[in-house]
Subunit: 201 residues, 2 copies
């Protein structure tokens, strides 16, 4: 049955390893990662339409006005946002789109796309999260403390998600997500036209 | 994470092959098939507590009165029903229970167990269902016609189910159900105590 791809929204606290999981998933051709639009200047090696859709501030604000963005935010005087068009084209082609969004953006995305599948990536324990953040050795204690507090808050949002994937082991976490995708493709609402056609013959 | 098993309700029209699927599933030790209670006499080889729970009419009516049955019906002056106790013991042990119930019983079961997972087994096409029913060669045309009409009605109930599994190929259908089970074990509501404990440390 050829049908629309799924919209997968992945969130998880810093240190949950969601970036690595996404990199693993998109090795399979049915997964496409959402491309953000931004007004910041391209860095060396970054390509338009691959890493970002690079926009002028005027273009970006026009996208906002036309409601062409699923969600957007402004960091350090640059806009970042998720264009709906790319998501819609991807799912129409039958591929599954992955949106890596933080908790608040995920809630916005869910209200725009009620059929999106929300997956929360978790560290196995809070201590593990702590040691992963410290392990990077790149952040000050204050930054780590702030991130842990934020992680604690974000973890409380788990109830708003459809699924929890505990990232104890990368391979298992990737398998979990693939199984969620397989199961979600068997949801009854996706079979409406198939069954109606079957019965009309 | 040790937690309760799932309650899987499998329905599907006669000829959908759900019986064969159940036989395949219970080869895995995490699946247990629900055992019915009945007042009919045991046939040769049938064991109490394995094929059925054999009850006197008085015992059965006491189970009805005490609301110990998930659903029950009377065929040819014999009661048949699904005891809740066996279901509850099974899921408490962490195993997943399979209930093979027809559409109407499945709706009753869903209202008793809102967290039950409803899976509808479908033939790949209506023609295939027809040829499977005729292929048995054991039924008259009238019986086949009546079953097809009933199948048509039952198929319309697909919307009430969580998932659709098309039984085109036995192995694929069994894999689909296993993937549904794996995904359902990742549902966020199942992680409530896990996450609360994680954050309380």
């Amino acid at each position: 049955m050829q049908s629309e791809g799924l919209k997968l929204i992945l969130s998880g606290p810093s240190g949950s390893g969601k970036g690595t999981i996404v990199k693993e998933l998109i090795k399979e051709e049915n997964f496409v990662v959402s491309i953000s639009a931004t007004t910041r200047k391209p860095r060396v090696g970054e390509e338009h339409g691959k890493h970002y859709f690079f926009k002028t501030t005027e273009e970006f604000e026009e996208m906002i006005a036309k409601e062409e963005l699923l969600e957007y935010a402004n960091f350090c005087n640059n806009y970042y946002g998720t264009p709906k068009a790319f998501i819609n084209e991807t799912i129409k082609s039958g591929k599954d789109i992955i949106l890596e969004i933080e908790v608040q953006g995920a809630m916005q995305a869910k209200s725009a796309y009620p059929d999106a599948i929300l997956i929360f990536i978790m560290p196995p324990t809070f201590e593990e999260l702590q040691s992963r953040l410290i392990g990077r050795g790149t952040e000050s204690n204050d930054v780590i403390e702030a991130r842990l507090n934020r992680a604690r808050e974000e973890l409380l949002a788990f109830k708003e998600y459809d699924y929890i994937v505990i990232n104890d082991n990368l391979e298992d976490a990737v398998t979990d997500i693939k199984q969620i995708v397989q199961a979600e493709k068997l949801r009854s609402y996706r079979y409406k036209s198939y069954i109606e056609q079957m019965l009309s013959n």
